[in-house]
Every structure is written in structure tokens, then in C-alpha cells.
Amino acid sequence: MRTAGFVVLLLVVAAAVFGAARLVDNPYAFFAGYVVLQYIVLATAWNILGGYTGYVNFGTAAFFALGAYSTVALHKLTALPLPAMMLAGGIVSGAVGLGTGYFTLRLRGTYFSIATLAMAVVVQTLITNWSFVGGSRGAYVVRPAEVMGLDYVQYLFLLMLLLAVAAVTIARTIERSRLGTGFAAIRDDEVAAEANGVPTLRLKLVATALSGGLMGMAGAPLPYYVTYLDPASGFSLSYAVNTIAMPLIGGTASWIGPVIGAVLLGTLQQVATVTISSALSLLIVGLLLVGFVVAAPRGIIGWFGK
């Protein structure tokens, strides 16, 4: 399918999802749906680096929270519309991804992974000590009641839906492009990739910047969604675990894997958090992650296909 056709199809699906959520006419549908969509973006973004080039990023929470905190900062300074803030959050996180990558991507892949863990704590410490954005006490953000006649939570849902469409389109386009071939070569054998003309460092930087940027964009609307943001919740480890678990459970080889993983795990957690407890639902995610990597190396999409 051509990219244009694919985008149209995705937009039709998105319109159907939005329409269905309005039909349900329960604010909780939008709240829960927002989280699932946010995970589609995060899992897809993670997979661009992790699934396509083979570099494991443990720092999702940092990229995500940086996006959220750049909104908090901008919210205090100006009255930008939310889409502009999402762009800003994406730029901040993309730049941090580029920086982390620049220092560590020359090294073996495991060092990059450990560095992302380290980076997450450094960023969290900086934010915790930065009183302008609330420091350790956290920050309140007033959520407008509505925008252009649309309920604000529905507006947030809609923006996240469009971001998910964009993220999935980017991922699928990469997969089928020259860039995707280069990424796959890096993942399979970096030395051979470089010897066959692939500018490995540059491509890895592209992947980290893109992946980090999308995560930042996903985080930017968060302050309006939660209305109170503190470092502990913004940097919660559950973001990192979920964004690794979702692609690995769905399957990392193709754009559809992270989407399947995000929809399944995201929905499961929304249900389990309400019906059981949030700690238990996180335990389920951890167990599923370990179970899948041990027993189903190619994820759910590996059950189909050849």
C-alpha cells in the first residue's frame, strides 16, 4: 500500500475511534483512551530505535517527562496553543536524545542502554531541583474547560490520536525506506553495515533524535491531562517498562507490533487498575514482558506470518 493510502486508512480508523468514543459519551472513555493512545506513540517511538536499530532505551520516562516539563515551563511563560507546545517538547527531547546518543553511541550497545538509565536519573534530579517548574513539590496546571467548542479532555484525546497516526506513519515509512534498510543493517551487524556503506553513527543519531522527539511530543500534553505533575509521577518507571514491554510483546519487526502491544497492554492496565490494583497491573506487565522475551521471541506478530 502506498503511504498516502495508508495515511487515509489510518485517518479513517482514527475518525472511527473518535466517533466511537463520543458515542460512548462517558468522560472515562476519553481519559482511558488517551492513555492507550499515548502508549501507542511511546511504544512506536521506542521501537524506531530499539526494534529497528537494536539499541535498547531504558530512559523513556526521561524523554517523556522532558516533554511534559517543557509544557509546564512554557505554560508559565507564554500562552502558546498546545500543538506548539508539543512541538517544543519534541524538540527538547529530541535534542537530549541526540546529546545522549552523541556521547554513547560510539560504544557497544549495552553502554548506550546503561547510559539511558543514567540519563533518566540525572534529568529527574535536575527537574526535582528546579523550583521554576515546581521542584519536588510538583506543579499545578489549570486545564481550560474547552477549546473551540470541544471539551478539553476530548481535545487532548484528539491530539494524541493525531500524534499516534503521525508516529505510526513515520515508523511504517522508515521501514520501507532506505533509512529502514540502514537501520536493519545496523541491528543485524553494525561492523558489516559500516563496511557496506551505512553511516552507522549518523543513522543511530537520527533514530535516537526521532525516537526521543516523539516521546517528548507524547509527554507534552500530560500536564493538562493530569493537571498536577510531580517528578515521581512524570518519571515513573512504569513508562519505561511499558514502552519496552509493548513492542516486545507485540513484535519489534514491524510497525504493527508496538501498536498491538500498546492496545493490548494499555487496555489491560486500564481495566486492571480499576478492577484490581495499579501495582498488580504493573506486576502483570512485568511478568508478560519476561514471559514473552523468554518464550515468544518474535512477539505476537511472530504467531502469524511465516
Binding site: T181, R187, A195
Partner: protein, 242 residues
């Protein structure tokens, strides 16, 4: 006319171990050079230094008159300096045809070659040349070690190099297969590609090479006409003495 490849005083260490010491030689445009030496004498290390996979500590390499110092492997293959790996390093999740697309997209296209519609045919042709045409859609895991060597060679050829270094592309091949690969490399050379062949199969090296360079323990001990070189006292000792 200056040589296509000029190697001057090349040195490489691994920790305290000297893998290459003061290696110098030239390769003329269009030449067929054989590079031999006992196991562990530094042949593959030399290839790695020439192609940018490893950094040499001392010495200088010039390719087509330009210094290569500071250039990464991908920049060198884009200039036309390609190699096959002695231990095959295929891209495991890609089909054989996709394996060949990598150098075409990343080494040939940046030079302005290979238009997109031709790529698929080019891949099939290359696989045909090494006798793997019927496996174009298979994954490397389905190949034998010998077939993987052929894939290595095809992938190096896919980059349309000016200088091709084949690092033991024939090890383990049958008599007939050796002849096929020999014919292929000779044809490539006739089309203007300069070739360095690293090989333990003496029959092939002698049939192929116009000139022979011998490495022993990281040093060049002989360089010249193949028939004369293999009779040199030092070369005979290096091979029989070990």
C-alpha cells in the same frame, strides 16, 4: 601513473601485541595481487586497517591519490574500496537479495549510481554470478558456510568497487567451485576492477595473481613475481618451518 592503493609504513597493535609492523606496498590500477601468509600473520588485520574497520596506529594509506586517514569504513567503500569478510557477516534478518541492497543503497547510490528500478535486477544478477540466484528470498540462516562466503563476495561486488579485497573467499569450496569463483574474479578484473586476493589455496593464488605479497608475523617478507616469490628461501621457511 601513481598506484591505485599506496600503503606506507602501516603499523597496528592489539594491546602489547604487534599485529602489523611497517608494512608498505603499492597496488596498480587494474592489477591482480595475491596476499599470502601463515595463519595469524596479519592479513585480515591489514584488510581491516585498509577498509577502516580498524584504525592503524602508524603509517599512511592512500587510495586513488587521496589519504584515507580519518575516514570511516562507510566513506571508504563509497570511494570504491570494498572487502569481503573472512568470517561471513551477513545481515541475518534480511533475505539474500536484501543483503545486497545495503551496499547498493548506501555505497553505490551516494556516488550517483544505481537508479531505484534497476536495483532488484542488479541483486538477482549478482546472486546469479555466485550461484545463489535460486535462494534470493531465503535468509542467511538457511545457507551453508560455503554459500555464506559466496554471499559475502556478492555483497562486496554489489558496491561496484574500484578495488576489491577478497579475504579467503574460497576456503572450503570444491575444486570446481574454486574454478568458478576464480573465473568470476578474473572477469571482474577484466572489467577494470583491481583485486587483492587473500587465499591459502596456492593453486588459486598462483593462477590468479600477477604479483604476490607475503606477510609473516605482521611483516612483509616478499613482494614480486609469484613464481619467484614462492621459491624464495624466507617464504619457504615461513610455510614449512611452522
Amino acid at each position: 601513473m601513481t598506484a591505485l592503493l599506496q600503503v606506507q609504513g602501516l603499523g597496528k597493535r592489539f594491546g602489547g601485541f604487534v599485529a602489523l609492523a611497517d608494512v608498505s606496498f603499492d597496488v596498480a590500477e587494474g592489477e591482480r595481487l595475491g596476499l599470502i601468509g601463515p595463519n595469524g600473520s596479519g592479513k585480515s588485520t591489514l584488510v581491516n586497517c585498509l577498509c577502516g574497520t580498524l584504525r592503524n596506529e602508524s603509517g599512511e594509506v592512500r587510495f586513488a591519490g587521496q589519504k584515507l586517514a580519518g575516514l570511516n569504513a562507510h566513506q571508504r567503500i563509497r570511494r570504491g574500496l570494498a572487502r569481503s569478510f573472512q568470517l561471513p557477516r551477513p545481515f541475518g534478518t534480511m533475505t539474500l537479495a536484501e543483503n545486497l541492497r545495503v551496499p547498493i543503497l548506501y555505497a553505490v547510490q551516494p556516488r550517483g549510481g544505481a537508479r531505484v528500478p534497476d536495483i532488484a535486477r542488479r541483486c538477482t544478477d549478482l546472486l546469479g554470478m555466485v550461484g545463489l540466484a535460486d535462494k534470493a528470498d531465503r535468509k542467511p540462516a538457511d545457507l551453508t558456510q560455503i554459500e555464506m562466503r559466496k554471499l559475502e563476495l556478492a555483497r562486496a561486488m554489489a558496491s561496484e568497487p574500484r578495488l576489491l579485497i577478497a579475504d579467503e573467499a574460497m576456503a572450503g569450496l570444491s575444486h570446481q567451485e574454486v574454478d568458478e569463483i576464480l573465473a568470476l574474479l578474473l572477469r571482474l578484473n577484466a572489467e577494470g576492477v583491481t583485486i587483492i586476493m587473500i587465499e591459502h589455496i596456492m593453486r588459486a593464488v598462483l593462477a590468479f595473481s600477477q604479483r604476490l605479497v607475503v606477510l609473516v608475523a605482521g611483516r612483509k617478507i616478499a613482494d614480486g613475481d609469484p613464481q619467484a616469490v614462492v621459491r624464495e628461501q624466507a617464504v619457504v621457511e615461513a610455510y614449512l618451518g611452522s
